[in-house]
């Protein structure tokens, strides 16, 4: 039986889809069989990040409605033999998600993959509750910015009240990813530090990702940034996926602005 991890947020646009695609690929690069599922019904996006949009024929709703078998709808990545993808339906009707069907789909996925990552819609969307219902763990993505953090706290509240694991007396594991950190702003006291954010939200830190212009370039090309060894964000995703595969990877302090520091030094000797 695999593990099901929902990637969630309160506020939208914080980097869930980018994280899901890159972490999924990173986990597969660790030799684990991994599938990423787009649960953002009506706003299919993960296919674009992965560059697989032209290969989508069937989506998760076709599978849930038993029109096709799971194996027919799953798309196998060309870049990694352990990496698989299941698309969201583009229907505008969000009520297509029914608890009983979602449960069946997730159990099915769990049997066949070691890691199942669910790309959730933002916490205010109706599909959010279905993404978290049957997850074993959740990754909460935030930006170092007040509204994103406040909304994350509310999303965590919903997670605790809707999770089946919690209803059955268990606990749903929760991990935080802080995305789009700008080191020199943190240094100047103009951006919340990861310590501040952890003090406020009080959950375990899974990793920190710097702001990186190349993320947009990567999604333009449909080539996940984790494949770019020279990218800061790509390397951050790599560290996080290694952690998710049980490797102990030190928390790199990306809040120290090494560039700025060197530049200042250079300035002194001018």
């Amino acid at each position: 039986m695999g593990i099901v991890i929902a990637v969630i947020s309160g506020k939208g646009g914080v980097g869930k889809t980018t994280a899901t695609g890159n972490l999924g690929l990173g986990i597969a690069m660790n030799g684990k069989k991994c599938i990423v599922v787009d649960f953002d019904v009506g706003q299919r996006n993960l296919d674009m990040i992965l560059g697989l949009e032209n290969r989508v024929v069937y989506d998760m709703v076709h599978v849930m409605d038993e029109e096709v078998a799971l194996s027919q709808a799953v798309i196998k990545s060309k870049s990694n033999e352990n990496f698989f993808f299941l698309a969201a339906s583009q229907t505008k009707d969000k009520s297509v998600l029914k608890s009983s069907k979602v449960k069946k789909l997730i159990l099915n996925l769990k049997e066949q993959y070691e890691y199942v990552l669910l790309d959730s819609p933002a916490g205010i969307e109706s599909g959010f509750e279905h993404t978290i219902e049957f997850a074993d763990a959740a990754i909460i993505v935030v930006n170092p910015e007040v509204s994103s953090i406040r909304d994350a706290d509310r999303a965590i509240g919903i997670l605790d009240s809707k999770s089946h694991k919690v209803k059955e007396g268990g606990e749903v594991a929760k991990y935080l990813i802080i995305n789009r950190i700008i080191a020199n702003m943190v240094q100047k006291g103009e951006m919340l530090s990861s310590k501040d954010i952890l003090d406020i939200l009080n959950i375990k830190l899974l990793g920190k990702i710097p702001e990186d212009k190349r993320v947009i370039d990567a999604s333009n090309q449909g080539r996940p940034i984790i494949l770019d060894n020279t990218s800061e964000a790509g390397n951050a995703y790599k560290r996080i996926s290694n952690r998710m595969c049980g490797k102990s990877v030190e928390m790199k302090d990306i809040e120290i602005d090494s560039d700025g520091f060197l530049r200042k030094l250079a300035g002194i000797f001018k």
Partner: protein, 77 residues
């Protein structure tokens, strides 16, 4: 540089203070998970006796005590 330090609080510190307060308020005002269901059941019971116009249930917290305050409005006969 040093002058900056005295000019006022850094905005990250302001953000942290504001967030701490906002989240504390959010957490206490959020209802219990069973609130909607309970509200429905209360409405069913009270409706047997009076004609309900509005019902409002809030969770209140003080020190280590929690309370529910239930306000029910109904029309004068």
């Amino acid at each position: 540089m040093i002058l900056d330090w005295f000019k006022g609080k850094k905005s990250a510190i302001v953000a942290k203070d504001r967030l701490t307060i906002a989240i504390m308020a959010d957490r206490t005002s959020t209802s219990y998970p069973f609130m909607d269901k309970m509200k429905g059941e209360i409405v069913d019971v009270v409706r047997k006796y009076v004609d309900i116009r509005a019902i409002n249930i809030t969770k209140e917290e003080q020190d280590n005590l929690e309370a529910l305050s239930i306000d029910i409005e109904f029309n004068k006969n």
